[in-house]
């Protein structure tokens, strides 16, 4: 058998494998995209029912944040591009070996990211204070995130230790081994997250009883409902679902329970967060992450080859830049997936509470209290919004009412 025949066979096999992997990837996406919201559900035109002055105020409030975010991302990419260009020089500040020096360069990169974002965070605090969304001080903002930053430093060191050790052994194929490690870490973090947040049990017995009834109605075991005190740094109401399996939890921010929201509205929130668990959105989120972790790691491997690959510390600054650019580029996709899940959680909450009036009241209330722009521009919606707009959510409640009336 000649060399050219072998090469052709190798190419054919490689091509077939790539096509098979792409097919599996596409099938996984199609499966994860499934939603319990009825297919072809038409959203009716609805009146917002919010005072126009409030709408204008929320548009101004969010509009400024959009500009601030875009500016901060531009600065961030510029800083990281500069670091990718010149950052390898910091390797001479290291007496550590290959992996230790890579860790140092990774941490310096994160430090620069923190510095680049700092002015924007301070401006955000100023804007939030101006609109009475927070009582946080500027100094508090400056020092509040050090613990979080420390955790990020440790995380990047661990990630780089894994990647650089694998790349030292498998210079071109390290990403195949690294992606599953990161998915496993993501899953472990999701599992452990409820234990990392300081919360206390929900003390309002009727709401806790409703949560148990809703969990049963959604076909899952009771999920603990806990309250996180966030009053020191924000007035924005919020809630979230966290944990996997035995650690599943629903966490309500204390700002949701400070008297501004009625019990009917809080019940909708509880049903919505429980729906994230009953619809398995958290494991699905990990699966989505896995689908993008492999191509993402492959792109980083490809981009850093000219710097000697990820086995070399000099490639770390460039890898950081590629990672941030990939994150920015995938943000619209992430938001699309997130909106799909949130829409499903809204729908399941409506099916559970059967109270579209309370749901619509809650969504309106979010606009008046959190100053969510109820009708953001299309580009901003696609780029930034992880939830459906207020108008879409009110329309969904109305669609559910019409469907239920039939």
């Amino acid at each position: 058998m000649g060399d050219s025949t072998l090469t052709r066979r190798g190419l054919l096999l490689g091509g077939a494998l790539a096509v098979a992997l792409l097919a599996v990837w596409a099938a996984a996406i199609a499966s994860l995209w499934q939603s319990s919201v009825p297919d072809g559900l038409a959203l009716p035109d609805v009146e917002l029912g919010i005072d126009p002055a409030t709408v204008a105020r929320s548009e101004r409030f969010e509009g400024f944040f959009r500009i601030l975010f875009l500016a901060s991302q531009l600065v961030l990419v510029a800083v990281l591009a500069l670091y990718a260009w010149q950052g390898a020089r910091f390797a001479r500040e290291s007496a550590a070996g290959r992996i230790g020096t890579g860790m140092l360069l990774g941490m310096i990169g994160l430090g620069l990211v923190w510095l680049a974002r700092l002015p924007f965070r301070l401006v955000a605090v100023w804007w939030n204070r101006r609109y009475d969304q927070t009582d946080s001080g500027y100094l508090e903002t400056l020092f509040a995130n050090w613990l979080e930053l420390g955790a990020e430093f440790l995380a990047i060191c661990f990630a780089l230790a894994v990647v650089m050790a694998l790349a030292g052994r498998f210079p071109r194929r390290w990403w195949i081994g690294a992606a599953p490690v990161f998915v496993a870490i993501g899953a472990a973090f999701t599992f452990a997250f409820p234990a990392l947040v300081q919360t206390e049990p929900l003390r309002r017995a009727p709401l806790a009883a409703d949560a148990r009834a809703y969990a049963s109605a959604q076909g899952i075991d009771p999920v603990p409902v806990r309250v996180e005190d966030v009053s020191d740094f924000t007035k924005t109401p919020n809630a979230y679902a966290a944990g996997l399996g035995p650690t599943r939890t629903v966490v309500l921010w204390s700002t949701l329970l400070d008297g501004r929201f009625g019990d009917g509205e809080i019940r909708v929130v509880l049903a919505h967060e429980l729906a994230h668990h009953s619809s398995r959105h958290l494991p699905e989120g990990i699966a989505w992450y896995a689908l993008f972790a492999f191509p993402g790691a492959w792109l980083i491997a490809l981009a850093t080859r000219r710097r000697g690959g990820m086995a070399e510390p000099a490639a770390v600054p460039l890898a950081l830049l590629v990672l941030v650019v990939l994150e920015l580029a995938s943000a619209p996709v992430y938001n699309l997936v997130s909106r799909n899940m949130e829409r499903e959680a809204d729908w399941v909450a409506l099916e559970t509470t059967r109270d579209p009036d309370a749901a619509a009241a809650l969504f309106r209330h979010f606009t008046t209290e959190s100053l969510n722009d109820p009708d953001p521009p299309r580009w901003a919606y696609l780029l930034f919004d992880s939830h459906p707009t207020t108008r879409q959510r009110i329309a969904l409640a109305e669609a559910w009412r019409k469907r239920d009336a039939r």
């Binding site: 910091f90 500040e93 290291s94 007496a95 550590a96 070996g97 230790g100 020096t101 860790m103 140092l104 941490m107 310096i108 430090g111 050090w146 930053l149 420390g150 430093f153 440790l154 060191c157």
Partner: protein, 204 residues
């Protein structure tokens, strides 16, 4: 003091990178996590070394190397965290850091002094604990000074280095790397002065 087998060697030019100084507490975090893990292993191995020294008067080779690497690594980390040295240290305690302790070869030790080491080390450990507080203060002062000037004040560096040496000597004593008690003199070792020729000495 010059006779102590755990010595300090300084090869530092006092220059400091401001960026590394600014983020120093965070840059030390992965090392602190590593030291924490390593310390548990050392705590688990220490009784084994103690039994071996009491029984045979010498530390087994692998344990001696392990403890020496630990003492060197902890000293390098202390020097980095307290800004006594500029570069990011390695994770193995390998020699070659600008501020580092040199550890002795394996020695024959007294059985009785080794048997009572846990008790004998207490005063040195207490003093080491107090000196650690001083080192933190030095680090805090040095952080501002180095951030402003890009250099480490030599006085602060030398004071900090003396403390690091004491900490290393205490750890080495407690871990039976040496049987010499930690020496608290603030003097740093100097190269021996060359003796001047004294004609009167020979004339007498």
């Amino acid at each position: 003091m010059d006779g102590h087998p755990v010595r300090l060697r300084i090869d530092d030019d006092l220059r400091r990178s401001r960026l590394l100084v600014f983020f120093r507490p965070l840059l030390a975090l992965p090392h602190l996590a590593w030291l924490w893990a390593w310390s548990w292993l050392v705590l688990a191995a220490a009784p084994v070394g103690w039994v071996a020294v009491v029984a045979t008067r010498t530390q087994p080779h692998p344990l001696h190397r392990f403890f020496c690497a630990y003492v060197r690594y902890a000293s390098q980390l202390a020097a980095f965290a307290a800004l006594l040295a500029n570069p990011f240290p390695g994770f193995t305690g390998a020699p070659g850091y600008p501020v580092e302790v040199t550890t002795p070869e394996r020695l024959t030790q007294s059985r009785w002094k080794s048997a009572l080491r846990a008790i004998l080390a207490v005063p040195a450990l207490l003093l080491a604990h107090a000196l650690l507080g001083v080192l933190v203060t030095i680090a805090l002062l040095a952080w501002f000074a180095a951030l402003a000037t890009g250099r480490m004040p030599s006085g602060l560096r030398d004071l900090g280095a003396t403390i690091v040496r004491y900490l290393a000597q205490t750890a080495a004593y407690a871990l039976l790397v040496t049987d010499r008690y930690a020496h608290a003199s603030p003097a740093l070792p100097r190269e021996p002065e060359p003796r001047l020729f004294d004609p009167w000495e020979t004339a007498r």
